[in-house]
Symmetry: C2
Subunit: 204 residues, 2 copies
């Protein structure tokens, strides 16, 4: 299979690349690095990349930003000035836009894999916005799977905090058992190489 990994420079993306490259052709994409430039917040750049790489059998997204902030600092605001905007424009609509391009461009029976995370089911202090975004993505995957054409499948992988990321995220995840990036990569493999669809593949 020819598999596009968007966000392959991150901890999860690197583990997925290592795991899948044993059996498949991997193309990496990112805003700063990778084989091809792709910005998930720019629909035109997504379309350009998919047209250039066609035919493509699978796309895996291992990226997405959202704002961690105490709930007391999330003030009412118009969408354009809201602290929720980053999560909505980047992690949520960025991945949804990739899925909507992939739907029209992947080969028959192809697969789309998004990244969400444990925080919608197990929120932590300061996670209101990421929790909301993850809940949206898990529901999106379930609904979109039903209407995918040509046997295309779609799943999300929902990891807990990674042992490899404890330096950055550890203080947010007190009391959470960290998971190994290599174990998280297995869930992406299951989405790409098995036949599941409409599922949230939890790694925790």
């Amino acid at each position: 299979m020819k598999v596009l990994i968007i966000g392959a420079s991150g901890t999860i993306g690197a583990a997925v690349k290592e795991h899948l490259s044993e059996r498949h052709d991997i193309i990496t994409a990112g805003t700063q690095s990778g084989d091809i430039k792709l910005d998930i917040t720019d629909p035109a750049s997504i379309k350009r990349a998919f047209e250039e790489l066609s035919p493509l059998d699978a796309v895996v997204m291992t990226l997405g930003k959202a704002t961690f902030a105490p709930f007391s600092e999330l003030e009412p605001a118009k969408l354009g000035e809201s602290k929720h905007l980053l999560g909505i424009e980047n992690k949520l609509m960025g991945q949804i836009n990739v899925a909507q391009v992939a739907r029209d461009h992947l080969t028959d029976g192809g697969s789309i894999t998004l990244t969400t995370g444990i925080l919608n089911e197990h929120p932590v202090p300061g996670s209101v916005s990421p929790s909301m975004v993850n809940g949206a993505l898990d529901a999106f995957v379930k609904a979109a799977a039903m209407e995918m054409p040509r046997g295309i499948r779609i799943n999300s992988v929902s990891p807990s905090v990674l042992r490899q990321s404890l330096g950055k995220y550890g203080p947010f995840f007190r009391g959470f058992k960290p998971v190994e990036a290599a174990d998280v990569a297995l869930a992406y493999s299951r989405s790409v190489e098995s036949l599941v669809t409409g599922q949230v593949l939890k790694v925790w």
Copy 2:
């Protein structure tokens, strides 16, 4: 208790008003009708209403728009031109903004009740965008509840299709057992008059 119902002119809102008015003082709000003007997409109008009505013990939201459309018609687009925008700005961020104003203005031990719906757990053809919004709201409620100050509680009510709304929504909900508006109103009563918090109160 003094309870504000935003969207009381709708089918659910009217049933909630009827149920709660037996025991509480009800104030209704809406963009077109009600005791006070309030547009959930306009943070300034939310703040004005809460300041004018203070002290207020509970707010119940029984409104929120999102776009039903076949997944094939959900094209990749910038947020401002996306078909997901209505759901994100109205049902999602509208209710979140009300919750964020209410957090700072309700009396101690007050309650916030949002409306989501069955579609994130049981999607139907054309529900991708509303499903995504409902998933976001259910996760928001769970995360925000943990960080609410002064004993303020927050829950969502997630109804299936109402028997009273089958004329409008019936074609989307083939095979779903409709629920009675009066039974849905009971879930709002549980959120306002019991002590639950961080819950999705499902009526299906």
